[in-house]
């Protein structure tokens, strides 16, 4: 295969048509007239909403904006602006009270306080993997960072039990959104449109029965860089296109790169493509500004994350046998 730096360039018009055909076919197959989509203020959901409107018409697309107290303030603003641009109906539900009732913040904060006893709700917190895998090799271990609001920042490597506790609490945010999306979808006889892209899908960067709990995934074949290409072509608002991608679930803002991928999407996507297609590290380096050691390191990380998250991409194992 001839690998080159523009290998992920797509014909946007053709791709948009292909995805819109897919959405229409799925609407028929699912026997639903329209779509419900969670608008996060990020580029993936903005693109999916745009594609659904092109495929089904604006009357058949409903946007749910589901902020919580750790969401960036601009997320809600950008989501509403994108919805207005598309002319779709939306509802905004602050899920903070639901999360408080479940104990999301309390459970997470208790975990953090076992590491930093001084931590209180005025602090900001995030978890990250070691930075810049391509510059410096390191295993994937998570570090908790807290900021007391006065610029005093502390960090600590997380033990497995603390990491699991923080992640489990944080994931309830995504799962609560899923409950809201399905409530509205069933009430309106619509399907829930997912927003996971290929970079996320292959690396397991989504939550089972959270943002992974949907009826269709119209952009799961597109790498993030292709999501940007298509978003620009289809007129997703500039504020969203220029925003740094983030999980938007921590009070201390963190990018996708810092939280999980350990490299920018411009490097991640072509490398991921190469890894998926069996292109050698040597060939990749000829097409990118990298050495073979860096490419191999990236491949090793992809392999490790792919394997560790394989269960997300599969149906729950069972003893059911196919009868036909």
């Amino acid at each position: 295969m001839n690998f080159h730096k523009d290998i992920l360039k797509i014909d946007c018009r053709q791709e948009a048509d292909r995805i819109c055909d897919f959405i229409r076919q799925q609407a028929v197959a699912l026997r639903h007239e329209g779509a419900v989509i969670g608008l996060s203020g990020g580029i993936d959901s903005a693109l999916c909403a745009t594609l659904c409107v092109r495929a089904l018409g604006k009357e058949r697309v409903f946007g749910l904006i589901l902020p919580e107290k750790d969401s960036s303030p601009v997320s809600q603003e950008y989501a509403a602006k994108q919805a207005a641009e598309l002319g779709i109906r939306t509802e905004t539900v602050d899920i903070t009270p639901t999360l408080e009732a479940f104990g999301t913040y309390q459970k997470r904060d208790e975990m953090i306080r076992e590491i930093f006893p001084e931590y209180d709700p005025h602090y900001r917190a995030k978890i990250t993997l070691p930075p810049d895998l391509l510059s410096r090799d390191a295993f994937n271990f998570f570090t908790l960072t807290v900021d007391d609001g006065h610029g005093n920042i502390k960090t600590a490597r997380l033990r497995k039990d603390k990491l699991n506790g923080i992640v489990a609490a944080t994931n309830t945010k995504l799962r609560t959104r899923m409950v809201h999306l399905y409530y509205d979808a069933e009430k309106m006889d619509r399907f829930v449109c997912g927003t996971t892209n290929r970079s996320e899908l292959m690396q397991g960067f989504y939550v089972k029965y959270g943002d992974g709990g949907v009826d269709i995934e119209p952009i799961a074949h597109l790498y993030k860089m292709q999501v940007y290409q298509l978003s620009e072509h289809l007129g997703v608002i500039k504020e969203i296109r220029e925003r740094t991608p983030s999980p938007d679930t921590f009070s201390f803002e963190v990018s996708d790169e810092d939280f999980y991928f350990r490299m920018p999407y411009e490097k991640l996507d072509p490398l991921l493509y190469a890894w998926e297609n069996g292109i050698s590290a040597q060939e990749v380096c000829a097409g990118m500004d990298l050495n073979e050691d860096q490419a191999r390191r990236a491949f090793r990380d992809f392999h490790s994350k792919y394997r560790a998250t394989q269960h997300l991409r599969e149906m729950p194992p069972s003893l059911v046998m196919a009868k036909r």
């Binding site: 390191a138 271990f141 570090t143 490597r157 497995k160 392999h303």
Partner: protein
């Protein structure tokens, strides 16, 4: 004579560390990896023996078992990505602490 004894003591210590590590890895990580055994030089990551949460468990084990502190900067494949590397790394830390 002294030199021989030191070398011998080091060898015994090395084997002891390796045995403890192999036992921990075999019982905690090997069943999930689908492997029945592994070589001292096998890469844990490439063989799928240890993933990101496995690394955390391994660090907890070696910090507790050998009473050493592993710094973040030391959590790199060169130190931890095979039984051989890990054993040498721990031995080096113990020797450094003893000096």
């Amino acid at each position: 004579m002294r030199s021989f004894m030191n070398e011998n003591a080091l060898k015994v210590a090395h084997e002891g560390i390796g045995r403890k590590l192999r036992s921990f890895i075999t019982s905690n990580f090997l069943p999930q990896s689908g492997l029945e055994s592994f070589l001292d030089t096998d890469s844990f990551m490439e063989k799928g023996i240890i993933d990101s949460t496995g690394v955390l468990e391994l660090l907890e084990f070696i910090e507790g078992e050998f009473a050493i502190k592993v710094e973040d900067e030391e959590v790199i494949p060169n130190n931890l990505d095979s039984l051989q590397k890990l054993t040498l790394f721990i031995q080096g830390k113990l020797e450094h602490a003893a000096q």
